[in-house]
């Protein structure tokens, strides 16, 4: 809502293999997903002159970062809570994570409760909105819900999502933003890049991985500020300071002995 007030149009879409989108090929191949993103932006934008800001979360960030240089007039791109080094290290745990989550639920309410209890999400209001779309109902009675996206099947693509993410992030020509949950644990490439001033970092220590759901208001503020600062027609703010102090000098400078 914050973004809309400033005149931005926010588009969030169900990617291939997610939500209500129906495709023949549901493979989460990053090449396909990048092509999808490029095509969708081209379809929804007003014209080539319209400024585009891309935001990606976790795996979506990898897609955003790969697509940014191929889409005309991207002024800014934001990555939410993914760092290449950490992500690749955690891939070995993915299988046990997938094993430990329930394969089926009796209702969407059960799934929402599980998401909150298993500390996936913190924000109950947000979970009620987002979790049902992660499920699909199987045919038959009584109702059985399962996960819409087959993450286990996407295993061949896991590594390719994250490999080279840091260097692709730094290679984007637009303004770069990295939003992190918990603490700013960066890999070597990002540590160097950040300390050389190549991108902005915002940390939300109180949030968990789904930043856009746990702290939506704060994130919206950050994104608004990120976008407005990187718009094309921005002028540099100059603060008026008197050339000479009006009264007596403020604080004598003590010369070294």
């Amino acid at each position: 809502m914050l973004l809309a007030k400033d005149g931005a149009r926010v588009v969030a879409f169900d990617a291939r293999g997610h939500g209500a989108t129906i495709c023949e090929n549901e493979a989460l191949d990053p090449l396909l997903l990048v092509a999808d993103l490029v095509a969708i932006v081209a379809a929804v934008r007003r014209d080539v002159d319209q400024e585009i800001v891309l935001i990606g979360h976790s795996m979506g960030a990898s897609i955003v970062v790969s697509a940014a240089n191929s889409i005309p007039n991207v002024v800014a791109a934001g990555v939410i809570d993914v760092v290449e080094g950490t992500a690749i290290e955690s891939l070995s745990h993915m299988h046990s994570v997938l094993r430990n989550r329930p394969a089926k639920f009796r209702s969407t309410d059960d799934a929402i409760k599980w998401s909150l209890r298993s500390h996936l999400l913190q924000n109950k209001e947000s979970a009620k909105i987002s979790v049902p779309h992660l499920l699909k109902r199987l045919a038959g009675e009584p109702p059985v819900f399962t996960w819409r996206t087959d993450l286990a099947a996407s295993e061949p693509y896991w590594k390719s999502w994250f490999e080279g993410l840091s260097s692709r992030f730094l290679a984007m020509k637009c303004a770069r933003l990295l939003v992190l949950a918990g603490a700013d644990r960066l890999d070597k490439e990002l540590t160097i890049g950040q300390m050389q001033g190549k991108f902005q970092v915002v940390v939300y220590p109180e949030s968990w991985h789904y930043v856009q759901e746990d702290v939506p208001d704060k994130l919206a503020e950050t994104l608004t500020e990120f976008w407005t600062r990187n718009q094309k027609l921005v002028t540099i703010k100059r603060f008026p300071i008197p050339i000479k102090p009006a009264a007596a000098t403020v604080g004598a400078t003590a010369p070294q002995e």
Binding site: A183, G197, F199, I243, P245, T253
Partner: protein, 410 residues
């Protein structure tokens, strides 16, 4: 109630945590000392300038070993004392004590991390003291740090860089600095800005918006405005060569010495020697694999970038209460290829005038291609117990329950 500042200093050198009550008292004393200093401190040469240290306590000890101890050597610290490293508390405590003990021999400039907005320092204080009081005392003290210094009326020292709102040193002097760092404005710019990368209008790393901004300025009067660009960091600005030259000319200065940006080679000289960056945290975050340096300025303003690598592993103690990662990470510095030219991220336009003297001290005089090995001190690695150079006896067993009243030498 008095405090034995020499005792505090010796305890700091031994990396002992000072008690909460002592920290509180020291911060009050530190604030009193800094309250009397103007925003821009005048400093005389010879002096050694130190860039970001980020809580890398053992590397700060390395700096003192290499360049000399305060007060034998005058120091200007450019800020960013805390965050990222494992010993932010010990680092800032040591510098605070030195400032109280030798106020005219050490200058402490504020960096963008000397703020309540960063989390690393806060969590470290919480972990080491069990509550956030010490963090509060230190962050209140940070509000008093000066914004800059001028060495011999020639070299302007600041943490980040220039501001579109500031043309003269007098304008910096009238800022009310005794507060938390603002998100924007001149005070924020001074601690956040960076020199623009070379050929900035056409490199791939600058935001698209800046292309329009610099291209739009057509008249001569717009040249100065056109030389500031939005910074990728999200705060401060990128400042170019023209506006730098203008600032120096207006203020009768010759050079800007700043920190804030990691240099793989430890330092960078830019804009035909108008600006230099000094970076003093080797192997930053225990993983970046970079060198560090301090800038030693002689009486005649001769400049020497003294480059050094991380403190050898056997002289470094891994923190026992913190995560065990430090031991593993610090051994990465021995990895091959750390000193390869390919990994140097300096741009082609950087003038490395002092390259001939950029040797790693204590490692046989040459840049080691085989990586850093432990113990390669060449006499520079001294045991902590013998390092005090100002005659202070080190007593490791004293407590704070009976503080000795002592007079300060000021």
């Amino acid at each position: 109630m008095g405090i034995d500042i020499d005792l505090c200093i010796s305890q700091c050198y031994q990396r002992q945590l000072l008690s909460e009550a002592v920290v509180k008292e020291l911060c009050e004393l530190g604030k009193a000392v800094l309250a009397g200093e103007g925003n821009v401190r005048q400093v005389a040469a010879p002096v050694t300038v130190v860039g970001d240290v980020h809580g890398q306590f053992y590397d700060v000890l390395e700096i003192f070993k290499i360049a000399g101890y305060c007060p034998d050597v005058n120091y200007v610290f450019l800020g960013d004392y805390v965050d990222r490293g494992f010993f932010s508390v010990e680092t800032i405590a040591l510098l605070l004590c030195l400032k109280i003990r030798h106020p005219h021999r050490i200058t402490l400039i504020r960096g963008n991390h000397e703020s309540r907005a960063t989390y690393g320092f806060y969590t470290e204080c919480l972990r080491k003291y069990g509550n956030s009081n010490v963090w509060m005392y230190f962050t209140d003290f940070f509000d008093y740090l000066v914004l800059g210094a001028v060495i011999e009326d020639a070299i302007f020292c600041v943490h980040g860089g220039l501001s579109p709102s500031i043309h003269t040193l007098d304008q910096i002097k009238v800022i009310d600095r005794f507060k938390e760092l603002p998100h924007e404005g001149p005070m924020a710019d001074l601690v956040w800005s960076d020199p623009a990368p070379a050929a900035t209008a056409t490199t791939a790393t600058t935001p698209a918006a800046s292309l329009r901004f610099t291209a739009a300025s057509s008249s001569a009067s717009d040249d100065m405005r056109g030389d500031f660009q939005i910074s990728p960091r999200g705060a401060g600005y990128l400042f170019g060569k023209i506006v730098t030259a203008q600032f120096l000319a207006t203020n009768d200065l010759g050079h800007i010495c700043r920190a804030h940006q990691l240099c793989m080679e430890g330092y960078q000289v830019l804009f035909d020697d108008l600006v230099s960056t000094v970076w003093s945290a080797p192997n930053y975050c225990y993983r970046a694999g970079n060198l560090a340096s301090v800038l030693q300025i002689g009486v005649g303003l001769e400049r020497f970038f003294n480059v050094f690598g991380p403190c050898p592993d056997d002289a470094r103690v891994a923190p026992n209460r913190d995560g065990g990662a430090i031991v593993a990470a610090s051994t990465n510095i021995g990895g091959g290829g750390m000193f390869d030219d390919d990994e140097v991220l300096a741009s082609e336009d950087i003038v490395l005038e002092q390259k001939k003297v950029s040797r790693i001290r204590g490692r046989g005089g040459g840049i080691s291609r085989s990586g850093v090995t432990g113990g390669g001190g060449g006499g520079l690695v001294r045991e902590i117990s013998s390092m005090s150079s100002n005659g202070v006896a080190i007593n490791g067993n004293s407590t704070f329950s009976n503080p000795v009243v002592s007079e300060f030498f000021l």
